[in-house]
């Protein structure tokens, strides 16, 4: 699991430092960053993904509610917590209307430190599973089923970033749905693909004409089946593509008469065909390129075109392409000029 990142936004430097020290001790050991203005916070969130934003409300220039409104639109998956000294119910309801996950007073936080930290830890954990704000950890299917089982009449308004969807329920029956210009059954199926977002219950609209005749359970089942099938089809496509690529590469090796190819990325695992000594060959390739680069800097000899080597057993040639270094092995009977041309050709068609 990756280390979760928290951003704390507050205009008081001492408070920021105190919060930072407190939050780094959470069990999930988050990476805690701080920002003293809304603009700085936005810049940080643009630069890298955060899992949780803890935001003060009263700040100069851009206040917390403005930041939260922007965040809700631009980073719909970011969990948000308001931590403020303003004891005002209006602010609390406005913050919840903006989809915040938690509204906490600074005075309460000091008194109920443990509970506050438990809530934050829980929010960090929940984010991994997705779900809809309001009822954490629940998928949209769960929410709809709950409403139907309770035979509720309501208008579910769902938002995900700039997208808004509506589902009308009357006495536990699905009446209509609407999203991005689609209506009825098609809209409902589309909405079910949403994995996260926020939702709110609005008053029912009993006069809404019925546009969906199928039962909600039948629609949920159909949707779940089609999602499974799509996922399976995608996996099959990926497997087939990968298999085809391997076959193509092996046939290319055989056609050109090369012994092996090792594709070495700047970092991470190399890919190899036709050799068992992948690690050793990748290591030499990296080192040879590094040594040559240093030598080129000192001699001012220009960029490296390629590196070649030969022994009684084989010829090798290393060259750069698409941010990778390809080391190609050839039998010793190939003369040098033909090795270069053949290597260039082989590497150029490698990803075709």
């Amino acid at each position: 699991m990756d280390q979760p990142k928290i951003l704390i936004l507050d205009d008081e430097a001492d408070w920021l430092e105190m919060c930072r020290e407190m939050l780094v001790q959470l069990p999930s050991q988050p990476d805690v960053r701080t920002a003293s203005t809304g603009a700085k916070a936005m810049a940080q969130m643009d630069a890298e993904p955060f899992r949780l934003l803890i935001c003060d409300l009263k700040m100069p220039r851009i206040d917390g509610l403005q930041v939260l409104a922007i965040v809700r639109r631009r980073f719909p998956d970011l969990r948000t917590v308001v931590l403020t000294g303003l004891e005002d119910e209006e602010f609390r309801s406005r913050a919840y209307a903006l989809g915040v996950d938690l509204f906490w007073l600074k005075t309460d936080m000091q008194q109920n430190m443990k509970m506050f930290l438990d809530c934050l830890e829980s929010l960090l954990g929940r984010d991994l599973a997705g779900g809809f704000r309001g009822i954490q950890n629940k998928s949209l299917m769960d929410i709809i089923q709950m409403e139907c089982l309770s035979r509720n009449s309501t208008l579910l308004r769902l938002t995900r970033g700039p997208l808004v969807a509506k589902i009308w329920l009357q006495d536990g029956e699905l009446i209509d749905a609407e999203v991005q210009g689609a209506h009825g059954e098609a809209a409902f199926q589309k909405i079910l693909y949403w994995k996260s977002g926020t939702f709110e219950n609005l008053p029912a609209e009993p006069n809404r004409p019925r546009a969906i005749e199928k039962s909600v359970n039948a629609l949920l089942l159909e949707s779940a089946q089609s999602m499974d099938e799509e996922q399976q089809a995608q996996t099959e496509i990926i497997e087939k593509t990968s298999h085809r690529k391997t076959v193509w590469r092996i046939s290319l090796l055989a056609r050109e008469g090369a012994e092996f190819v090792v594709a070495v990325p700047p970092e991470g695992e190399p890919e190899a065909w036709g050799t068992q000594m992948v690690e050793q060959q990748a290591k030499w390739t990296r080192r040879a390129m590094e040594i040559s680069r240093q030598l080129s800097d000192r001699l001012e000899a220009g960029p490296i075109s390629y590196i070649s080597g030969s022994s009684a057993e084989r010829n090798v040639l290393a060259l750069n392409r698409d941010n990778k270094v390809f080391l190609v092995g050839w039998p010793p009977d190939k003369v040098d000029g033909s090795v270069l041309e053949r290597t260039k050709k082989l590497v150029a068609s490698w990803d075709s």
Binding site: L295, S296, G309, A312
Partner: protein, 101 residues
Amino acid sequence: MGFLKKLFRRQAAVQDLPSGSLTVDRNGNTITSTISSAYPANLLKEIARDVLKLFQEARDSQMPLAEVSIHFASLRVTARELRGGAIIFLFPQTAMLQTPG
């Protein structure tokens, strides 16, 4: 003006590329050389050291090589292993003078 010229005498900005051959022992010491004596000895030593390092790294990676060539845009360095040392050929690559392969 003459005074200023003396103070700010311009250094040659570009170092000529080396041309010729040299043999080095297993410790990188030059035994023979046909490269111009005007070429900095420390740079030749660095070439020798890097070439020997390439052979050594190849041996360490269980891929021993008898010959290695590094093809830069303006210089080709070709080295052949010689009893732990090496004979190194340096060919500047200019538009007028391209060495084969």
